[in-house]
Amino acid sequence: MYHDILITLMVLTNFTLVATSRIHKSIQVAAFQGVLLGLLPLTLGLGFHIHILLMATAAVVVKGWFIPFLLRRALTKVHIHREVHPYIGYTVLLMLCAFGTGMSIVLAHNLPLKPGGPFALFVPAALATLFTGFLLLVSRRKAITQVVGYLVLENGIYLFGLMLIEDMPILVETGVLLDLFVGIFVMGIVINHISVAFDSMDTRQLAELKD
């Protein structure tokens, strides 16, 4: 019951993400989505054994606090607050996002599910979130919002991974979270270099290499 609400909220945050132009807000919303994801395993009726508690805490800390913290810190150095002139306009993006969510439901319908699990909404929501991440990645010009897109894309994959939470070795889960964290950390460093070298975070500047 609660998990359906959390997943519905996740899909709604997708729409907020594509529609917002303020960078601080998009980081905030992505962090909120991370917290929802972290809480999700606790609502699946799997009990509260140590493995599940550990994963929930790790996800909330990494996705809900640490990564947003890194992204905000990268923002303090440059004075930008808004994503001006994205490659694709906000209205079109919203419509694309709605279309993608619809397509995810159709696609998920074609993949069989293990009967009896609480996972009916997981696959469509995971695919929709993945698609939203892609949309953000290709439509935004600022390096930092592209990283937010990557984070959302990873959230979609993590949501799918939760279907396997009982079976996945903790070693692999930790590895995945750690890699996400280090990945964003490295991207943060590169963003820092970009803003020093170009005096902006606009990836339009990064278009000199071509054939």
Partner: protein
């Protein structure tokens, strides 16, 4: 031995990070490369006896790929001291640490028998090699690093989703944990087909991005074009080999499950598309480092094409992995030397390299001849046999297109290479103090000699190993 191969480079990376003197860092790098190679040779004695329940360990396939990477790393590590001495302006610390971490992670990946561990190792490899691309610290290398990181991370994220799909396929079929490759292959009849197929497509796109298959290769020309030649060599022969191995492991699972036909069609499609795409961009390519990057796209295409054709071609695709890595190291390192000598990598400014840097010029020319399939170098053997297998086992069209593309690529590439190597001297050329020395050319000569020997003769134990590795790819756990 398993842990020795992984931890030795990682500990060495830590030591290199802590070491204050550039001299010691270089010593650590070369010593580690030699020790890793020797350790690997010792470990390879037991590749046939890997227990089925092991999470980490060398089998024939992982052993072969790691052998290729270890030899390539040794070549690069022997070249590195002279290169770093030429670049006192740049921080060699991060450079050495990244190189050594890459070797440790590649050893982890090659020995991993669990798809999750493989994925973690592959992703970490991406992160470890990103600082190498930013070595020159200018705007162009920054742009290349950003593209490499972002496209690579998205690709690898898709590979993770594909891996999870296949895990769910096993979960639905009631396959028990842990989902080691061996178990997935033994119990492949239980896997849920729709999830398996969808998972393989995602894994192919994901690891294909890391390999640089068209059309997911867009980071490649930028990254290879802006890094030092030594990093290009390591990326083109090392990182791509890791991604290819990760893909092969999943292909083996899919093939055992009886979905080989489906997977092969995809692999042939991506293979031919990559070769075609590379050919289009190699014609009239003025930047010789980007030329090599497109050549790498082409050869990644040949690798997946060989697997897609199957049978003998799969074995020769694995052989080609080694041939390509060796010859690419020669090409990238000599291109790096020529770049250094002319302070440019664009055609009108770089001509007549054979007179200015005779050894590098010759090696660049010979490397070009070798990579395009001139006998008796190793790539000829693999390219010839892949074409032969395609033509004789029911893929006449694929074989014909493959040969036509190889011919067209030879012509396209020769135009640029011949102008760079011979060419008439022009007034616009810059002259830097760089001169070919023993230290900057000997590693390349060794690599090219090895590629020549491989083309003529492969020792019996290696032949057996290759045979067993191909059997694993074909679906025998």
């Amino acid at each position: 031995m398993v842990w020795f191969l992984i931890l030795l480079p990682l500990i060495a990376a830590g030591a290199a990070f802590a070491s204050p003197s550039p001299k010691w860092r270089v010593r650590i790098l070369t010593t580690t490369a030699i020790l890793h190679f020797v350790g690997l040779l010792a470990a390879l004695g037991g590749y046939g006896t890997l227990p089925a329940s092991a999470w980490l360990g060398l089998d024939a396939l992982g052993g072969w790929v790691l052998l290729v990477i270890s030899v390539l790393f040794l070549v690069c590590a022997l070249y590195a001291p002279a290169y770093l001495a030429l670049r006192p302006d740049r921080d060699g610390r991060i450079f050495t640490v990244s190189l050594l971490s890459f070797l440790g992670l590649a050893s982890l990946l090659a020995q991993s028998q669990h798809p999750g561990i493989t994925w973690v190792a592959m992703e970490t490899t991406t992160l470890a090699t990103a600082p190498l691309i930013y070595f020159n610290h200018n705007r162009h290398s920054l742009e290349a690093t950003w593209k490499y990181l972002l496209i690579g991370s998205v690709g690898i994220a898709l590979a993770l989703l594909g891996t999870l799909f296949i895990a769910y396929a096993a979960n639905m079929g009631g396959v028990e944990e842990p989902l080691l490759y061996g178990r997935l292959m033994r119990e492949s009849a239980l896997l849920s087909r729709p999830w398996l197929r969808a998972g393989f497509v995602l894994v192919l796109v994901g690891y294909g991005t890391k390999m640089g298959l068209a059309p997911m290769h867009t980071w490649k020309p930028d990254a290879y074009g802006e890094t030092p030649g030594i990093v290009g060599a390591l990326l083109a022969g090392g990182v791509t080999s890791c991604a290819f191995l990760a893909l092969l492991r999943m292909y083996a699972v899919v093939a055992t499950a009886g979905e080989a036909q489906f997977a092969r069609e995809l692999l042939i499609g991506f293979g031919l598309l990559s070769m075609t795409w590379a050919m289009v961009f190699m014609v009239r390519q003025l930047d010789f480092k980007r030329l090599l990057a497109y050549s790498s796209v082409e050869h990644m295409g040949i690798l997946v094409l060989g697997i897609g054709i199957g049978g003998n071609a799969a074995r020769f695709a694995l052989f080609h992995l080694a041939a390509n890595a060796l010859v690419k190291s020669v090409l990238f390192l000599s291109a790096g030397n020529i770049h250094r000598s002319y302070a440019s990598k664009q055609l009108p400014y770089v001509t007549g390299a054979i007179r200015r840097t005779p050894v590098s010029g010759w090696l660049f020319l010979l490397g070009f001849l070798a990579i395009t399939g001139t006998p008796p170098f190793a790539p000829f053997i693999s390219e010839f046999n892949i074409a032969y297998t395609a033509l004789t086992t029911g893929h006449p069209w694929v074989g014909t297109v493959f040969l036509v593309l190889l011919g067209a690529i030879f012509l396209g590439m020769s135009d640029t290479v011949i102008k760079v190597v011979f060419g008439t001297p022009s007034a616009q050329r810059v002259r830097t103090p760089y001169k070919d020395t023993f230290a900057t050319t000997a590693p390349m000569i060794a690599a090219l000699t090895l590629a020549l020997i491989m083309g003529l003769w492969l020792p019996r134990p290696l032949q057996n190993m290759l045979q067993m590795a191909a059997a694993i790819v074909g679906g025998q756990p």
